[in-house]
Amino acid sequence: MRELIYLALFLPVAAGIVTLCVRKSWLVKAINLTASVCTSTLLFTLIVQVKEAGTFMYGWLYIDALSSILLLVVGILSLTATFFSVSYMDRELSEGRITFKALKRYYALLQMFIFTMIVVLVVENLGFMWVGVEATTLASTLLVAFYFNRSALEAAWKYVMVCNVGILFALLGTILLYYTQVAAGSPEVDALSWTALKAMSGKLDPMLVKLAFIFILIGYGTKAGMAPMHTWLPDAHSQAPSPVSGLLSGALLSCALYVLLRNLVVLEGAMGTGFIHAALLLFGLFSVAIAIPFILIQHDMKRLLAYSSVEHMGIVTIGVGIGTHLALYGAVLHILNHAVAKSALFYLSGIISQQYDSKHLKRIRGMFTALPMVGTLFMVTVLAIVGMPPLNIFLSKFIIISAAFANGQPILGFGLLLLLAGVFAGMMFYATRMVFGAVPSNFHPKALGVSALVACFLSVMWIIITGLYLPPGLEQLLDQAATIAMGRG
């Protein structure tokens, strides 16, 4: 088990370094595809082992059901992102938008990015999780800035500054938490250890923990794209290469939420749930609400999807804020569902923008006629993201909203439904205009990359199948993850 984790950490780093040294384009692709398939297989093996044998802990390494769900997200998304990158970057290369040197840099950074996300998910210590989350920002900044044009530089600068300041707040919160731990008489070997903190959370000073909570929420909330700290998100998501946008939105935001969840378990044990849940509900509702005007009036396809990510992070936060077992089950499931669906949408938007030579919503028309296959996949995924049954996101949204009603918060439930109706209107308006209508006269279809389509197909299959049927093993993991997030695992 331990060896498998080390291998899963080692593979992306090795692949990244080797990529920088080779001179042939096909070799770069082969190395990255192989590495990605192996890494994901390793991650899936780890998940199966955790499911069979229970929580794994060895020194600094720790994997339980909650981290397994997130490892599943990273496993699926790093696989699809690499597959998609192969065709996407081939076209960028052949159309002269990037050079071969840039291509190598891209894959090396992509592997580093995947590595840092795995680090966040396999460590037990809250201090290490902080180091990991900061490293994800740094690895992804140069991916956001990848094209090094003016817009990309602007997006990257905002991204790195906002997220760095945010993450420094989280560090302050973590230091405060450590101070309360030391004050409660914990030995130094247990410093910031999650399991130790969880066990002794009743002994921590509630006043200081409250202060720590505020900083930790702001810090990791910034990274998770919660409003009003979400300002970096639409810029970074729209300027990054499409496969990276998919990873940022699906995997990175989820990793930040995961670290927040881990911290919350300790904080709730020390200061009770009242204040924390109220704050989470407030941030969550605000995130969903603030996304609506930007989704209703939008000019850029990828910004549309980015604001939808803000909305979905809001929904997960609301689920965590309701705080019952059912709500947390919904929240964790929603993280998984959103990750697969949103990354697929970003991949498809990558194909679409290459086909139409534009990200502008006005220029993209008539996909059913021009690109029937891409149009169909796009429509199905949009239907999933707005929560149409029987697709997967309907299930998790339904669970979260019904948890609100079951927990005696009908106003919250109705309010959320109303807000979601607004999002639905905006997303469907633009999606139908993109898919139907007349094809622009200057449109010339180009050949579609096979590996890009494979990535999109896999994601859409997942969306359809898990909407209808959750494998019992996955359901059991989700159930355990919800219990852990409640602090009872």
């Binding site: 900061e134 900044t141 800035a145 003016r150 530089l153 600068w157 300041v165 560090l171 910031l192 729209s238």
Partner: protein
Amino acid sequence: MQVLALLLLLSAFLLMRANRLASAVHILLVQSAIVAAVCVMEGTASIHMLVAAILTIVIKVGIIPYALLRVVKLLRHEREVNPILGPNASSLVAAATIVLAYALIDRTLPAVLGWETLAVSLSLVLIGLLLITTRHQAIMQIVGLITMENGLYLIGLSTTHGLPLIIELGIFFDVLVAVSVLVILTYRLKKSFQSTDTSILKKLKG
């Protein structure tokens, strides 16, 4: 100890007044050196503190200012032209910030041993934040970020004698990588926009 705390406050004050990029980086260098000295003073002969002090000197007094000064050399005509707060207003705000930090620490954590250091560190964090929000020059914002980080480091030092060494190593590494990434971006900003004034970055909206 008190002398070092006062020197730190002075450095923060001067940073708020600086409008030449090179002087800001030099002040940052001195500030980091004082942080290293505090490390040595606080942890008398503990290996942890010694390692932390050495790393602070190598990374924050050596590599980071060196890298920043190299970029500054390329930015010959760049300086902070229209900061949101002018030098005098900045000094006033800095003074208010320091009073605020002292008052906050006095009220919330009066019992902590090194509360003087703690108040100074909190001032550093807040002044770093002010630098990031009120300055337009990329280099100034980077300096602000490292000032914040220095402040946070001292908060950890004065409350708990620092985080465990292995986590601190991780943080040092992150800071190092962060500065390299920021330097690359600054260099690219200069190349693409012929300027490193970040107030021109306002194309992406809506």
